[in-house]
Symmetry: C2
Subunit: 221 residues, 2 copies
DNA sequence: ATCTGGTTTAACTAACCGGTTAGATATGGC
DNA sequence: GCCATATCTAACCGGTTAGTTAAACCAGAT
């Protein structure tokens, strides 16, 4: 046990291929025979090493989110101020999502199906990430830098935007192909682009302002 | 033809049920027999009235997005300033998503699968919504109210956040059940909550500021 | 050499599922 | 009444799919 987890380990190959297939076809659309074949493994071996389709799917989810969270933890270690920490979270999630192209689709599909088949282990990971963000927001508010916002919605806005932005490239391509002209700049957005756009947006959006000499109309109603 | 499109119209019943089933199970997970049974229609009648699974799915997508877009158009007619128009878009999309619980899952699933099976008709609708938002952003910038932002990413941030926020309730429930205590306020978010949260966030985030006495470090590079 | 336990394979199966068909029934025009 | 057309049904079909099985293979221990 504790063997080298290289490509020669059939379990590693199976999980890698399964992540791809589940990401692009969903749980119901994924074919066990397909996964086995692409992982160059006999189907019965897949059942022997991993278990049934549900177990395979759960293992894929866990591996995918663990890898992303590990990146965030590592990057967060260096950051200090609330602003900086939030920026780090945004850019790390964007980078992780771009680097592992299965991440965003898997999350989107789970979101669409209400997270019914997310194992508890994975839910706890999600909760931990939420707590991290909520702490940052509370810190920033305590330091007088952020205004008071709903941490639940703020967290989901952040993750939702980044994931949708990352997964949105193919749809942007379709939109451009159907209606757009030759606008090359319509489709491609690097992880850095996404991170810069969204962290600017949210840091400006969260900033606490001085009451400002009332130039606006009164908030009617 | 052009008959009353009531519940007695089998095509209406089929599309309604199919929207539910596709939203909660995805295209691959949806069962034609299931849809037919729940629509109280013989399976062959489903093929007779609508066509095969793909055609049914395309019809569902078109109907779903058309209904949402119609709401937006209607609501937008009254709005004037760029800020107001953006706020209307956010709150109308949030309201439409909450009212039709199939909308968000359908969009999320399409996003996850790269929009391969979105019919061109629907893509053109999406493009039109993008153009509307892009115009608002350009207007606001011209009026000196908004800063210069990437309209493509801004549009996807808006839609992504609202859709994820709306579809996120079941996952919030799972997170609360697994780790959270009795925090009732963790799960429920009305369309108005979502709209208020996000339009505040984005309007603040987009606002153009006066250059402000340089207190920050210079933007290196 | 042989036994033991983990690993691998080809073949199988039982259920499922999208789509079809042949024929029945209803409807409206004449 | 009668024909043409639209609507509807039960039964069927062939391919697919998750999961199983029984037997083979192979490495190390004795």
């Amino acid at each position: 046990m504790a063997r080298a987890r290289t490509d020669s380990d059939p379990r590693v190959r199976i999980l890698d291929v399964a992540a791809q297939v589940f990401a692009s076809s969903g749980f119901a659309g994924a074919r066990i025979d397909d996964i086995a074949e692409r992982a160059r493994v006999n189907k019965a071996m897949l059942y022997y090493h991993v278990g049934d389709k549900q177990a395979l799917y759960a293992a894929v989810l866990l591996q995918t989110i663990d890898h992303a969270l590990a990146r965030i933890d590592a990057a967060l270690a260096a950051a200090r101020s609330a602003e900086e920490r939030l920026r780090v979270i945004v850019s790390t999630v964007a980078a992780a999502a771009q680097e592992n192209p299965n991440f965003a689709p898997l999350m989107l599909r789970e979101l669409a199906s209400g997270g019914q088949s997310i194992p508890d282990q994975v839910v706890r990971r999600m909760a931990r990430l939420f707590r991290t963000v909520a702490e940052i927001l509370a810190d920033g508010e305590r330091a007088g830098r952020f205004r008071n916002v709903d941490p639940v919605m703020t967290h989901m806005s952040i993750m939702g935007s980044i994931i949708v932005l990352t997964a949105g490239a193919p749809i942007r391509r379709r939109i451009r192909d159907v209606v757009g002209g030759p606008r090359a700049s319509f489709v491609d957005r690097s992880a850095a682009d996404i991170a810069a756009h969204f962290s600017d947006l949210i840091l400006e959006g969260l900033q606490k302002r001085v009451p400002a000499p009332a130039r606006r109309r009164t908030r009617t109603k």
